[in-house]
Amino acid sequence: MLTAGPRIHPRLRRRELGLLAIAALGLTVGSVSLALTRLAGADDPLAPDAGLPLADPTALAIYLGALFAAHGLLVLTGRRTDEVLLPTVGLLGGISLLLMERLPQDLAGGLGLGTTQLVWLVLSIAVITVIAAFIRSDAWLRLYKYTWAAFGVGLLLLTFVLGREVNGQRLTLAIGPLSGQPSELLKVILVIFLAGYLSENRALLVEESTRVGPIRLPPLPYLAPMVAMWAIALSIVVVQRDLGAALLFFAVFLLLLYVTTGRASFVALGLLAFVAGGAGLYQAVEHVQTRVDIWLDPFATASGAGYQVVQALHAFARGGILGTGLGAGLPEVGGLPPGGIPALHTDFPFAALGEELGLIGVMAILGLYLVVIERGLRIAASAADDFRAILAAGLSLVIGVQAFIIAAGNLKLIPLTGITLPFISYGGSSLLTNGLVVGLLIALSDRGAQPPPPPTARRGLRRILDRGAP
């Protein structure tokens, strides 16, 4: 595979190295701060986490080692690809590692929360690196878009039928010893399919042949997949009771439609369909009703259904502007002692970070997600054809929209939905698929071989000397 292509010349990636160094320094300081806070609290039996073991510095060392090894491999393959995404995602993952080490370890069975998360993070970095270093052609994605779509729908149906119910949501698919959440993988498949479909039919979608009152629409047959998308999103809500994934899929679909056609009327129409569907679901599905009621007034059921949200709001309030410091918050899980948030490591890491890092820290984390979106859109703008452009835009928007949905849910800005915060939440499915997304983005950003330097005019003394030479 490597021998067939042109010869590989290693190429330094100075920006990436510089950014990785800052990220590593920051994470080390965070780790020391966490350890000192625990050490100081160890004497005090009333301290919030007196019973927890001290953080192990080897976990962070292994994680940083994996990041720098990934950087080294990218240098060796010598492609001219993006140098910002790996450090940005690496910093998010490192913050996740610090958070998981500081939570009660019995949340995950076996190795404990911190160690399990470390394993998944390292695997995720490996996925990013392998895809970023070795994927050169996008034909395998472009040509088989209907195969991918069929695979995605099959996965969805399999979850409908065989899925295991956890917390009233049918999300987890277990086959033998393997279990995972297919909706995470589904979002990538959705973006690949939409990129293939939209880039192929762009010219037709831009055309206006159907008119409904003041709104002009593309030819009707080309609207069918759009309606199918809407139906799939609704069925995910009804059957799986997974509001988060449905919201994410539909938002990404509308954004990509806008990116492709540049028409606000499509988005307006989509939002109307969304509002209509949402209102209908609110009436019909009890689960949706509960979520919206909690969102409108969590304090009405503060010790029941609204408990999580109320505790998250208290956590943000305790954090204030500067936060309580890593390790000094009260994010005990399971409700004991009072003040804990159930499902903190998967659904509420943003609230825990809000408590310990404060408004300032949370703004920085949102800034990191913005960087991922900016890079993705920039890669899209300089892509060679429509498929790559839509794919890059879609992949980065998936991460951005997902982060927004869960962060806004934690903050009670929108109804809470149980999706993960990319690269921070605990969980293998989420980390691996987001690694896949970032790896593809880096591979898509390849600017090809370095162009030869432009001929420089020989000036001054050199020119006289050259002319004088025999």
Partner: protein, 145 residues
């Protein structure tokens, strides 16, 4: 004040400051990148890349910057001169209208093809599609930004 408490305080603030240092450095990289892109001569609407050209004119690998109207053919007055035995004098015209590209066959003897399909009068063409005149194959690509 207890030195341990004080050092924890300082470390906390240093951690937050480092997060912002990272962001600041990233934003500087992004700004430099955007400025470099803005400096490049732009305003082209698309590019035509020559994939195959047995006659040598245009040369294989050459890329033409496209305006809203580009004419192709053997005649020297065309925007892109295609010197091929199977190309007509005024062979085809490539236009950018509104938001999409179209190719029109100007009644050439041997026809114009988009992805292997013959163009009957006028046809839409998208970025990444392949255009064929005689033996010359070209690919429409997005503008470099």
């Amino acid at each position: 004040m207890d030195p341990v408490v004080l050092s924890i305080w300082i470390l906390r603030l240093v951690f937050l400051a480092l997060l912002y240092w990272f962001l600041w450095t990233v934003v500087r990289v992004l700004m430099r990148d955007l400025r470099a892109a803005a400096r490049e001569p732009g305003a082209e609407l698309g590019r035509l890349l020559v994939l195959a050209s047995p006659g040598g004119e245009p040369a294989v690998g050459a890329a033409f910057s496209l305006d809203a109207v580009t004419t192709l053919g053997r005649d020297v007055n065309n925007t892109i001169v295609v010197d091929d035995d199977f190309a007509s004098g005024d062979h085809a015209v490539l236009t950018y209208r509104g938001r999409a590209w179209y190719v029109e066959d100007l009644g050439s003897t041997n026809g114009t093809f988009v992805n292997g399909d013959p163009v009957d009068g006028i046809a839409a063409i998208a970025f990444g599609d392949e255009l064929q005149l005689g033996n010359v194959r070209l690919r429409l690509e997005r503008a470099r930004r």
